[in-house]
Symmetry: C2
Subunit: 296 residues, 2 copies
Amino acid sequence: MIVSIIGLGLIGGSVALKLKKSGFADQVIGVDVNDENAEKAKALGLVDDCLVLPRALAIADLVILAIPVDAIRKLLPSVLSRIDERTTVIDLGSTKAGICETILGHDNRKNFVAAHPIAGTENSGPEAAFDSLFDGKTGIICDAQESQTSSYLLAKACLEAMDMHVVEMDSKSHDLHIAYVSHLSHISSFVLGQTVLEIEKDEASIFNMAGSGFESTVRLAKSSPNMWGPIFKQNKKHISDSLSAYIENLQAFKGMIDGGEEEAMIECMQSANDIRRVLDGINDKSNQTEKENQII
Amino acid sequence: MIVSIIGLGLIGGSVALKLKKSGFADQVIGVDVNDENAEKAKALGLVDDCLVLPRALAIADLVILAIPVDAIRKLLPSVLSRIDERTTVIDLGSTKAGICETILGHDNRKNFVAAHPIAGTENSGPEAAFDSLFDGKTGIICDAQESQTSSYLLAKACLEAMDMHVVEMDSKSHDLHIAYVSHLSHISSFVLGQTVLEIEKDEASIFNMAGSGFESTVRLAKSSPNMWGPIFKQNKKHISDSLSAYIENLQAFKGMIDGGEEEAMIECMQSANDIRRVLDGINDKSNQTEKENQII
């Protein structure tokens, strides 16, 4: 199978490595508007070759869009118009409803599968790619009923070849939920980084005192602004709601601190402690997938 | 040397293990108001023996207080009143100015060294203890001029035996800085956990979608409320200021999202990206200490 990957950053590069390594792809073709990225991806061995978009679309059995979500919305309709009827197109964007709307009623809508691998790091670019990025993670497929069976099955097989655990949901629920468990985390981290850096201007010594807790909380502040700006814009309503809830809870907590209400604070933290159950669930899931893979 | 450790949780237990393993302590005595904790600490081999407080103070060359900061403030004056003149007392609390104030003018103030190891995990209790918790981390000593030379040198040697890199500062600067690089991180994480759990009530499926980014940002929400409540209360002014700055920046970011101001968002995230420099600094420091230790 020939797989053409549009966008050779962390995600596209890691998909390329994994699909080649797993044997799912016989040949991986790369496309990137940035010539330097394309050169690097080839030099790093992420892809077998780099081609211009029309040529990459013409020869591919499977086309994967691994570009920012605004670029997906712009490019997807014309990609679907230019493919062969046997070609399947998957996108890997972090928002789904807006992307699915863009191609509502498109003649080749059935060739498209909306996907979102819940995987990433705070690093970006082809140098950041590695083949185990997706191992044991969740791969979401949205609005599966809009895809033809052959395309759906190919997309599912592709995510499974990437060692992902496939979950299905509709694109609107996806965007609501992901606002809370991914987009909000990124904003809390970006803004925490910003706030602490603003103070550092006068107090360079402050960072002698930063430990692993700070590092963990602020890690996502290293993420790519050009990837996240369009996500925040496209999932505006849900992110704004989640941010309102977060800010309101922070203000309430500040009120408890200002009022010296230690018991109320402790009660609030105790309820937050329940997140342990959720995080253990995430890790169990990864371990389970690892085990399943070992059995296979 | 006989070291008595008051408080046998994550911190006290880890200190006990490390001081024994490094050879700094010939004998480690534990004290805990919670009998169950004391039993566990002994069963886990964290301490050689558990004694009642007066006995543990009487035989110790070095007394280490590893209890919540409110308990340190309550206990420290009487501990200092009951020790032998050759005994040194160190506390390991996460706030320093209030603790130092409590014993201002105490006859044995000179026997006390205020310390803060920048190390911890989100877990608590004696079972959470491990001997490498402090390796390569920063150990802060505050208001060193208030301690007699022999006590200061013993405290420094103790932190160095724990493989820590020692930094000195005054207790007021400590409390200001630590509000931003530690206490604020914990609140942002607690409240993020709380906010997402509130939404989960109606939407159990949400956690299928949580990835490693969420996990990293919300990890500290698992921390002990009984340890953090007193810290937030004791460092109230600085934490309240840091929270105000954080909330203000979040509101500004929400304004950009609501207004569709993508360029302003990207600019803001780009400035937050500079946190990479800081985090690389933290890691360089750890690596450097590791190297130094290897050379030794």
